[in-house]
Subunit: 241 residues, 4 copies
């Protein structure tokens, strides 16, 4: 039986599902996972269900090879292994998101013009957003991250960065907490939309590396992060804390 610390995490994870759905970052597809607060070799993820309608009863605990514990009749996402291998590769990461945000998708179609922070809040995506293409190692596939081999390839491409693009597919975000990874995913979407609009006008300015580093650190500080999380929770129907 999960303890209060784990139950609190699972409540936050359900809310994260609803937040990302509310903000249009995920829809029928896409998912968010969180590492177990007591056992770093375990993580939590919903069974195969769209984030907008996920609830506590959908949550399954997995090991880092995506083996479910006690799933009963619940069927996991085909891409559970994606999250498993990110948690395996990144001990600093406590929460992960996989999404197909529509403003981000054009950036998955042209590696020569990367996604880069164009406003201060976009700094959360980091200075470098790697571009991973399943074609490079695997040729024609069904374009789903459903094996350890493919997931490890993607995790290697992510490296130490907070976000990465999957060619012709979507993106991943990782963070030190659920609020942080949601902030990252939401502002990855916002930054992408602004960058597209700015590029249509001509060559935009980008944040300098120094600006990205200083701004990122400040935005993930307690006051901005708490304010953002309270706002997004409220919009998703979970009322102010």
């Amino acid at each position: 039986m999960p303890d209060p610390v784990t139950e609190a995490l699972l409540s936050e994870l359900v809310i994260a599902n609803r937040v990302l759905a509310r903000e249009g970052v995920v829809d029928d597809f896409g998912h968010v996972a969180a590492r177990d607060p007591h056992d770093p070799t375990r993580f939590w993820l919903s069974r195969s269900r769209s984030p907008e309608i996920v609830s506590r009863e959908d949550m399954i605990r997995f090991d880092l090879d995506a083996n479910p514990e006690n799933p009963g009749h619940l069927r996991p996402y085909l891409e559970t292994i994606l999250h498993a291998r990110l948690f395996a590769a990144r001990p600093d990461v406590m929460a992960t998101v996989h999404h197909h945000s529509r403003p981000v998708l054009p950036f998955t179609l042209d590696p020569s013009r990367p996604l880069r922070p164009v406003f201060h809040l976009g700094s959360v995506i980091g200075p470098t957003v790697p571009f991973w293409d399943s074609q490079d190692e695997f040729g024609d596939t069904a374009m789903i991250i459903d094996t350890r081999e493919v997931a490890d390839s993607l995790a290697a491409a992510l490296g130490p960065h907070p976000t990465a693009l999957l060619a012709r597919h979507g993106a991943i975000c990782v963070g030190a907490s659920i609020p942080e990874v949601c902030f990252c995913a939401i502002y990855m979407q916002e930054n992408a939309a602004v960058q597209i609009a700015a590029e249509a006008r001509g060559a935009p300015m980008f944040l300098t590396p120094g600006e990205i580093e200083k701004t990122r650190k400040m935005q993930f500080g307690e006051r901005p992060l708490n304010r953002a999380w309270a706002y997004r929770r409220a919009r998703a129907g979970f009322g102010p804390l």
Copy 2:
């Protein structure tokens, strides 16, 4: 009196109307039809009413020349014949959609730059989206598919494909089930929007034929299709199954 199998289909058809309206694929205009589960020479379609407000009492059964059975005072859509001739031409098809999705419309204005899958979920539109123009055979018309001759011309252009464009008008989608044709119509709309945004940045990548084939097959498998249908039903107000 319709039997339980037919009643289940008609409930699903009403929900499909609401789903497509909710997702903005159809609005005052546009429609979705389903082949009768017992008699392949018959199909069901609402009387002339916008999908958002269609209900069970609006449903009429037609033959493949769009002759209504027992319509009473209900007046059919002027384009009922469009669906009739698609069901006649395609024995593999169990559900059809005609729409004027706004992101798709620009692709109906330039046959030299076809709609093509640009992300994995867009694979549902198929590798080839034929372009049909009423001008070619019929010159200036009122641009409505309301005769057998025009509908058969369009069905011939569709051929074996899942989707086709109607110049300066809209599109059609066909599928093996109601959830499948809705998934197809929704992701036709999504793919179109992403392709437009990507083209504005330069020449995007497209899915390879191998990727389209493998991804399409996987996306129409039970788990993704069920998840998508549960999500879209819920958004349209019909609660989780």
Copy 3:
């Protein structure tokens, strides 16, 4: 005391206000008027209030010089004279709309690239959308149609057409009924958005004059017009008829 015929018209006029607000054609600004059903030298228009919150008590009857009858404490729109002079110039017109629809606005900024039907439903705007610029006759103004002289200039530019553009300002639509003018304003907005998206991809196709003529006639027939009006009313909260 208004009779049942007039009361029915005023109900329809209130609903038109809400419909155009719901569809984003009007917002804080913009208005819709209807000619009196008994006296062609009179018309009805709300006092100065945003369409989304207009109700029966806001309605004032005016003559064709915009003189209000019995307004009490209600203050009319500054642009009431715009509608008055349209009704004066066009005996065939029974309803008018003035709006600043955002997709339409870019077309008010470049007379060399006119708004033209790009899909069948856009045929309602007519084959020609005149471009009127207050600068031509009046130089620098406060850009509001608040005198008889300016309104008559605009009406002359409209001529026999169903729609016209006001440079750097917005547009007008006229029709034979309230449902017709709403259909026209809504599809003017839709066509504008599609034309902008299509032009971004390259040179789009346009409807031929023959297609516009035939399609317009068909779209304003009873079945399409009734279906559209029922849909828009329902979306605005006025339930199905």
Copy 4:
């Protein structure tokens, strides 16, 4: 204890928070402040909370160095000093907004192509929208206006104008009242979106200086401003006055 005049202002300030959130001008971030009606050396601003969920109890009174009076446990916005120094620099200003409106952001990425009124309602942004870049005086920063030095630099760039852009960050708006500054912020967003769409088609027309001057004056007159405020309040859930 605040008097009725101050209480009325604070109610209006809470509503302004909700209005700007409802119109998407602000979201998790962004804020609106108002000068004290009795003491011009004081102003009111919420504690650090997203505008959509701000209420009366969040309001704190500050002096023009952003020192809070009696904040208790409430923590102010990090950018409180931005508003303080605007009120200090501009005795004519009674309300201020700082936002990151997404349509406006592309204009913060290219000083060579300024934001300019493209339709009559856009005249509220003024004929000149200065462009301020923290890099010029401060090099790489965390891109937040949280010191007196940075805030005074921004206020100096604003000069006598109603709006200014902050490079790679957002914008500020100032006005003679809360309804006026909200009208300004909302139409800054609207004008930006129209200008971007128009530029994509080619070189748009802009309002002349004479048009801007005359139109601005008229739009901030009682009837248009009251109508707009009633509309925006109602959309934010505060019912018609």
